[in-house]
């Protein structure tokens, strides 16, 4: 029996990994083909060159070959870590180098934001569920409902106006000291925090009504222990499923937050290169971030199956 379970698990993991690889390849192809569909050649924009020179340039960069060969070349060189060079933002600089310079900055902000969302969101949800129907619950419900509806740039700008401009407590741009992290991390974590709190509240309410909680209560377990030990473990499962989307949100939400707070991370750089139409950077970053998001989702999905053995591995209808 046990053996069958682990085989099923292996099959599931292999299937998911295969699907993730397929998705990455599809995204890479879509990105490449879409970028190729843009009219104009990379050699056209500066001085006009004689056609022989253009042809020679195209031959040098392999642009005279059929599209599928170009795609193959792009994919193989991408796997080897060569994403081409920047055309406009930082001329002729290697895209991979730029990404690995900018990305750690975004990671630092993003990881703090994710931690904040989890560390604050879960207790908030527990508190709301424990005080169900009381004013604390209503207050938290108002905050979290607003939190999932308000766009992140509104949160950013409100923070910026209140703490940065009016009170002048916190610096409004850059990432020089720990103070700089406070506003961006909070702004980025506000939506996932509220979302987690809502998820937590409803799953906690489901769990609280189960028999084993009543037994624990009857045995005289203290309410705090009851909520944070007995009920928490089972009600965490929906939150785990949200971790994957949360990583995706943090990546894309980072675009806005980094732009508003002028943080020199990958998100802001990506938006700038979109506005400047620096195609190699756009392609490289899109594929890089897609891989990141897809594999985080994959990890979360697998973790979810390990944590909750009640879910069957064989794919059912829903």
């Amino acid at each position: 029996m046990r053996r069958a379970g682990s085989e099923e698990m292996l099959e599931y993991v292999l299937k998911r990994v295969g699907m993730a690889f397929l998705t990455v390849v599809v995204i890479a192809c879509i990105t490449f083909l879409m970028m190729n569909a843009i009219p104009g050649s990379p050699f056209l924009d500066e001085r006009s060159q004689p056609p022989e020179v253009l042809a020679a340039l195209e031959a040098k960069y392999g642009l005279d070959k059929p599209l599928y060969q170009q795609l193959g070349t792009y994919l193989t060189s991408f796997v080897q870590g060569d994403m081409g060079v920047s055309l406009k933002m930082q001329k002729n600089r290697d895209v991979a180098e730029i990404i690995f310079e900018k990305f750690p900055v975004s990671v630092r902000v993003g990881v703090w934001a994710i931690l904040n969302a989890i560390v604050c969101g879960i207790p908030l949800g527990c508190i709301a569920a424990y005080n169900r129907g009381k004013w604390v619950d209503s207050l938290l419900r108002i905050i979290t409902t607003a939190g999932v509806a308000i766009p992140s740039f509104v949160v950013c700008t409100v923070l910026l106006i209140v703490f940065g401009v009016r009170l002048s407590l916190l610096p409004t741009m850059g990432l020089d000291s720990w103070k700089n992290y406070l506003m961006p991390c909070f702004a980025l974590s506000f939506y996932p925090m509220c979302y987690i709190a809502r998820l937590m509240r409803s799953s906690m309410l489901d769990v609280i009504n189960q028999d084993y909680i009543r037994t624990a209560k009857a045995k005289g377990v203290a309410p705090v222990m009851l909520i944070f030990k007995h009920a928490l473990r089972n009600s965490l499962i929906p939150v785990i499923t949200y971790l994957g989307p949360m990583v995706a949100y943090t990546v894309t939400g980072g675009f806005v937050v980094e732009t508003v707070f002028s943080i020199p991370g990958l998100g802001r750089y990506f938006i700038q290169s979109i506005l400047a139409r620096d195609y190699p950077i756009i392609m490289g970053t899109t594929i890089f971030l897609s891989i990141l998001i897809i594999f985080m989702n994959l990890l979360v999905d697998i973790a979810y199956k390990i944590v909750d053995p009640r879910i069957s591995f064989t794919k059912g209808g829903e």
Partner: protein, 364 residues
């Protein structure tokens, strides 16, 4: 009370104590019922259609009704408002640059002193002297339009795809659902940004050169918005199609579908006349909840400078414009942000209320 006379083991039913127990029967109890008595027994409640029933339930939900009121106010503000304000969204009023809310420029004060009627700049003006009130109205209009149009696109594609996949089942379903899974796992915002980049030049060319009236009518909304619609058509229908598929799977094994099949109805007809109308509650709710998420996405893009193109303004691009003058003109940032937040919030709350009203089983 007389003692029971029935002997032990007798089959005769012992009714006397039962009849005598509560109220003794009189001769009047055996009279035929009068008309009034008959009428009072008939259930007076009127038969309710699905929508009446849902509306009744929705009316009891205070939060949803308040949200509906706010939505109506915003729609009036966005669509009727501009006709009450004498300025237009692209009109640059000389001498009235950078006014705070409810203030007048010197020129306007002179005009007012001379007895002319001057309409106040309720929300102030921007650096180019454009009235912010009108711009916010237009912004709200664009956001609403984007939300509704994008949801309709999602509705059409998602419900057709989902119902076909669910109804045909088997290998077709497996393949179609694999495609949905694939699209589902693609990070949407990245593809949206990519599409914004890629579609810009071809669409601009198309709008500039084309003479076909259909494309002409699209060119009014601009390249940025058009590519948002394309994105929705490409990516965002998947959750709708999953919901519809689930519903269709449940419905298709029921007798009325078999009856229709026996009477020789084609698959198309069964989906159109029998299956989709039975999913209407879920379709309406999902479409309704899609509106705020479309507005969310549009404002996100416009805030980053990728959505609507000037001189058109959406709430996101207004906020983005306001970011530059945050130290002196914070209201320019706050006003569009607040309007946008209220709009998304009330649409969300109304959608939730609608879900509870249309499908009480889903209520937690």
């Amino acid at each position: 009370m007389p003692k029971s006379k029935v002997r032990l083991g007798s089959l005769q039913v012992d009714v006397d104590p039962v009849l005598d127990a509560g109220c003794p029967l009189t001769a009047a109890d055996f009279e035929p019922a009068s008309q009034e008595e008959k009428a009072s027994m008939v259930v007076i409640k009127k038969r309710m259609s699905y929508w009446q029933d849902a509306w009744r339930r929705l009316k009891r939900n205070t939060v949803a009704m308040v949200a509906l009121g706010v939505i109506i106010v915003i729609i009036l503000f966005a669509f009727m408002g501009p006709s009450f304000v004498p300025y237009t969204y692209s009109q640059q009023i000389r001498g009235s640059e950078n006014l705070s809310p409810m203030t007048y420029s010197e020129k306007e004060l002179e005009a007012a002193a001379a007895g002319e009627k001057v309409f106040p700049h309720v929300f102030g003006t921007d650096t180019l002297g454009r009235d912010l009130l009108v711009r916010v109205m237009y912004g709200a209009r664009i956001s609403m339009t984007v939300g509704v149009t994008a949801s309709l696109i999602v509705l059409v594609i998602g419900s057709i795809y989902g119902s076909v996949s669910g109804f045909l089942g088997g290998k077709v379903d497996a393949v179609m659902m694999r495609i949905v899974e694939l699209i589902y796992s693609i990070p949407d915002v990245l593809v949206v940004l990519l599409l914004q980049v890629v579609l810009k030049d071809p669409l601009t060319d198309l709008f500039d050169t084309s003479t076909s009236p259909l494309i002409e009518s699209f060119s009014g909304i601009g390249v940025g918005l058009f590519s948002i619609f394309i994105t929705f058509a490409l990516l965002y229908w998947v959750s709708m199609s999953r919901i519809i598929r689930g519903q269709v799977l449940m419905l298709k094994s029921q007798e009325f579908v078999m009856a229709a099949q026996c009477l020789g109805a084609s698959n198309k007809r069964i989906i159109k006349r029998h299956l989709l109308p039975n999913c209407i509650g879920q379709i309406v709710v999902t479409t309704c909840l899609q509106i705020p998420s479309a507005i969310f996405l549009e404002s996100f893009l416009s805030f980053l400078g990728l959505g609507v193109s000037a001189p058109l303004a959406s709430l996101g691009s207004l906020a983005s414009d306001g970011l530059g003058g945050i130290y002196s003109y914070a209201y320019r940032l706050i006003i569009p942000s607040v309007v946008l937040s209220i709009m998304i919030l009330s649409l969300n709350l109304f959608g939730d209320g609608l879900r509870d009203a249309l499908d009480p089983r889903l209520k937690k």
